[in-house]
Symmetry: D2
Subunit: 348 residues, 4 copies
Amino acid sequence: MLLRLKMGLPQRQLDAVLAEARRFGYECSFLDDGRQLLALDGTPGKPEHRSRFEDLVGVAAVLDPGDARERHERAPGQTDHVVRVGSAVFGGGVASLIAGPCAVEDTERVIEIAKRVRDEGATLLRGGAYKPRTSPYSFQGLGRAGLEMLRAVRAEVGIGVVTEVMDPREVEATCEVADMLQIGARSMACSPLLLEVGKAGKPVLLKRGFGATVREFLLAAEYLLSTGNENIVLCERGVRSFDSGVTRNLLDVGAVAHLKRATHLPVVVDPSHAAGRADLVRPLARAGIVAGADGLIVEVHPRPAESHSDGAQAISVDELRHVASDMAALLEFDGRCFATQDLERASA
Amino acid sequence: MLLRLKMGLPQRQLDAVLAEARRFGYECSFLDDGRQLLALDGTPGKPEHRSRFEDLVGVAAVLDPGDARERHERAPGQTDHVVRVGSAVFGGGVASLIAGPCAVEDTERVIEIAKRVRDEGATLLRGGAYKPRTSPYSFQGLGRAGLEMLRAVRAEVGIGVVTEVMDPREVEATCEVADMLQIGARSMACSPLLLEVGKAGKPVLLKRGFGATVREFLLAAEYLLSTGNENIVLCERGVRSFDSGVTRNLLDVGAVAHLKRATHLPVVVDPSHAAGRADLVRPLARAGIVAGADGLIVEVHPRPAESHSDGAQAISVDELRHVASDMAALLEFDGRCFATQDLERASA
Amino acid sequence: MLLRLKMGLPQRQLDAVLAEARRFGYECSFLDDGRQLLALDGTPGKPEHRSRFEDLVGVAAVLDPGDARERHERAPGQTDHVVRVGSAVFGGGVASLIAGPCAVEDTERVIEIAKRVRDEGATLLRGGAYKPRTSPYSFQGLGRAGLEMLRAVRAEVGIGVVTEVMDPREVEATCEVADMLQIGARSMACSPLLLEVGKAGKPVLLKRGFGATVREFLLAAEYLLSTGNENIVLCERGVRSFDSGVTRNLLDVGAVAHLKRATHLPVVVDPSHAAGRADLVRPLARAGIVAGADGLIVEVHPRPAESHSDGAQAISVDELRHVASDMAALLEFDGRCFATQDLERASA
Amino acid sequence: MLLRLKMGLPQRQLDAVLAEARRFGYECSFLDDGRQLLALDGTPGKPEHRSRFEDLVGVAAVLDPGDARERHERAPGQTDHVVRVGSAVFGGGVASLIAGPCAVEDTERVIEIAKRVRDEGATLLRGGAYKPRTSPYSFQGLGRAGLEMLRAVRAEVGIGVVTEVMDPREVEATCEVADMLQIGARSMACSPLLLEVGKAGKPVLLKRGFGATVREFLLAAEYLLSTGNENIVLCERGVRSFDSGVTRNLLDVGAVAHLKRATHLPVVVDPSHAAGRADLVRPLARAGIVAGADGLIVEVHPRPAESHSDGAQAISVDELRHVASDMAALLEFDGRCFATQDLERASA
């Protein structure tokens, strides 16, 4: 049940509505910043309750859930919500390249990678201090020490940093270093993490779970949006399929095209985790861009074979140059723009 | 077990090898045109049999299955096998557009569509006389009457025709009309049909089953190739996934990119059946082309709402113009070429 | 559009209805034996046509497709349709065991297997003369020679035979030998084969495609039923999933339970193809029976390692004894009955 | 790389090994309680490092990862690890029934349900204070207030309580009330939560993610086991498939049978979330038990239609009686035992 409250409601009347809702056992949450749409539970509500609410002076209308627009929905004619992270711009006809190693392992090496991907057009560095791994015996990332490395790289190279956070208790520490927080595919449905990250206020890169529907993906974004944080970038990174013989996951380009229609939030594509093999990163990156993506996130390793994790899918810096060049040309073909460090300085 | 036979083997020695194989109960088939690779059953073979074959004068080597290259495999450095169907060219840096209605329903209407898709750059008309349908109570196509319509359209419009055949008993009749035979997704694994179509000698458009792995798809092509027919075009048209809320199937662009590496056969993409909705046909078409596809097959209907089947995914002729224009530009970006009626006349 | 015709319609009035339908371009088919439900195309039909039909004297009502019950549907309170094949009985509280080798390879060996599975309680022998295989270089079955072997086994052992037919042109020859025709998982959606097999009049074992939904499975049965053949046994044999590391397919026991509610047709389970490994055949067989299956079809090989195909999933005769014993006990637990040769003789 | 250390290693020698490992940049973790198996990163390790470790006095052998048994693996001949939670016993030939509402909504109602499921044979009450929901606007559970209700129910009814925890920061508070902590399907891959829950020392019910492979499921258990907590019960609750028309998820009975072979940990089945509809809970429960499950977890609601969440799949208490009766009979058929309150008191 949704209550549409009257505009400019006195606090006393609002309190009366909330008190009544709690008395009936409903959980209340506002769906909008103007605090006019009050959601009660997401259920249609009992008939006797609906009629009681209709009697309250503060209530303009009692609606079914879904009658009002969810926050992620693109209203007819609504333009893209543009997310800016340092020099990186996502949406509104501008796309950005995020690149970097899977995990941060060594400060000097990460500085080297960061400089090289920046020189190829990346405006954000990716790199994991906390790595979600299937096995407890696999390399789990360096944790806080990894965050310190990212801080050093950021200062040295002058590039923004996006890094994954898996534990709500680590959000604060991660925020001190990161320009953008990543929610990984395995954590997409962890609502305590979503709420904590949303509240932190930093831009968020939300990856689609490999077993999640597009609707579930959008509702995970809705958890973030419900905290008032609007700077959410969605990331399609491939889903599970019955055929894992060719690519590790199946890149859902139809979802990318659909998301550009269904939501005003920007969408990027991760061709590295979709492919799971370096030689298919470039064609998947191209496919993502022409399907409408507002950016790419790519794993790069100067010497892929030496990576501690996910080496098979990391591309070399030379290959990144091809990916960035394709991206720039395909964006230009669509009258879109590739965000670069120069662009940002020029406009500053 | 595979036998590699000696070059220039006298018939008598070949007969001896075959007789021995049959005496042991093996099914024999040649894997190559030069008749040097003789496959026995696809099994490793019994040790006592292997040693017996090694003793035969005609046998150069006894190998495990898989040691020799399958016919669809692209050898290192091997160029594309180019398939030509009238003005249409698939492979070798040339791509073609196939377009038309789902089913042929009415001669005049199909003539109208054929002229219009030809004018937008299509060099082959698609259109079903036999329609595979989930329900026996759905429109199954007009059958032989539909074939006659296609014959009339072909004569009137001067465009090649590709049409599906589902029944081995209809291959001969379909060949009289069609320039290219289509094996549909539901028939991909029907070996009697594959063999009958292969033997008919016409170019074949082989669609991937929506539940088939890429390996199974390639081996279905191998059935066709095993008949000596080399003019096979593979078609990726989306696979089943756990999320059917956004697109009807999930277009496997990674498979397109992989196939361009793994086989010398050309690959086209069917964005219409993947999307299942008209508004996503264009982005999926674009994604397919930049992933490396040698062409597109698109459902078009002048008045989509009037279609007897699959109306939701048919695009209008205006939208086809955008798809063709994107296709031409993206091919040019890659230094590839869009096959047109003019091109063919010029090169004739 | 569906027309419900008046009872006892004179031929002249029926002809008038059919003529009108064809004039509008609809394909007609009767949904019921009493020829009262006439389906036109499966589409809702144009409004102008609906009103025209409503004016015809022979037409009782113009309905939407789906308004009338499909043939496979279980009406409220309707009992099982019982399918009998020799001593085997499927449905109505009786279940049967089908067992045998994957492919028939050698008459004496098949006779040996047939005697042994009969002694363990099987009332039908399975065994393929035509084997659908992924690769053209794999053993494809012995074809007509395999059928002759089955004929010999049938005569010698006195057990009914179920064997797969893949090619509509082989239905007649297969009928001469088989007591029951099998439609394999890869052919489930091949309507020409379904119609040809349906018309042959023999009982049919219809396997679910590994990528087919339950609805598609039921509509494949509907193709068979639409020929007037009612002796259809459905077979759940596992579907594709994202995890192929444990079992080859995922046995859909929920589908078995659902099918027992949704249709009056009997349902059997194939634990061998679901498991893809011998050690899990028995637990999957048990799960299928307690979920409501009316029988099992199991691959057996006296010396599994020597099988030409699918050896890994064939169980030994000793293991079949355990499967049959479990099956009998679990059926008894439900007050159901295990069909045996003795049972049939007793009731004869 | 794995190091097998010598038995009874002096601390000084152990420190030397660890120091060397860290100098090379490896993350170290012990795989066993005896601290003889030291895992370095899960990678094979560089050759130069392997030879260096082989030179260290404390090192008995340098192994590849995987050479030593993981903790969840069932060694040849190893018996079940038996997990006891109050009267409930899982494994070793004893199975238990967990039942209760989806969410705890009202103390008196939960007490009523708890008494009734206890009377039908349940030895643990399930009920969520924290509910993972797809939408932020759906009922999320009562949180701490829900935990207080569970505490009251536990005291009043004398039945153990299993409840889900989603947030590592709530583990401690949840432990004060719960006899067993549940990790839900959406949190299965959240390693910070797994580690926090593992360390809390309470028995854990670990649900398989609906998009997780069996291998990933076992490695999630391995995270728990790596904390030294051995009382882990695995729960199969259905996985995503391409067909969501019949059941909400596809119950993987093959996985149940496989898990009973692959691990010594007990396995239970959740037929409610697999089915997603009340009428299929009983057949899926039966299938799970005969496939080898050591228990069931079932959603029950005295008046299912009034439930705040997941009402469609909750069964009535009458239906629970049938499920429990089937479960007892099928366990007896296998010579296994149904844990009851009485049984426990008798053996106490």
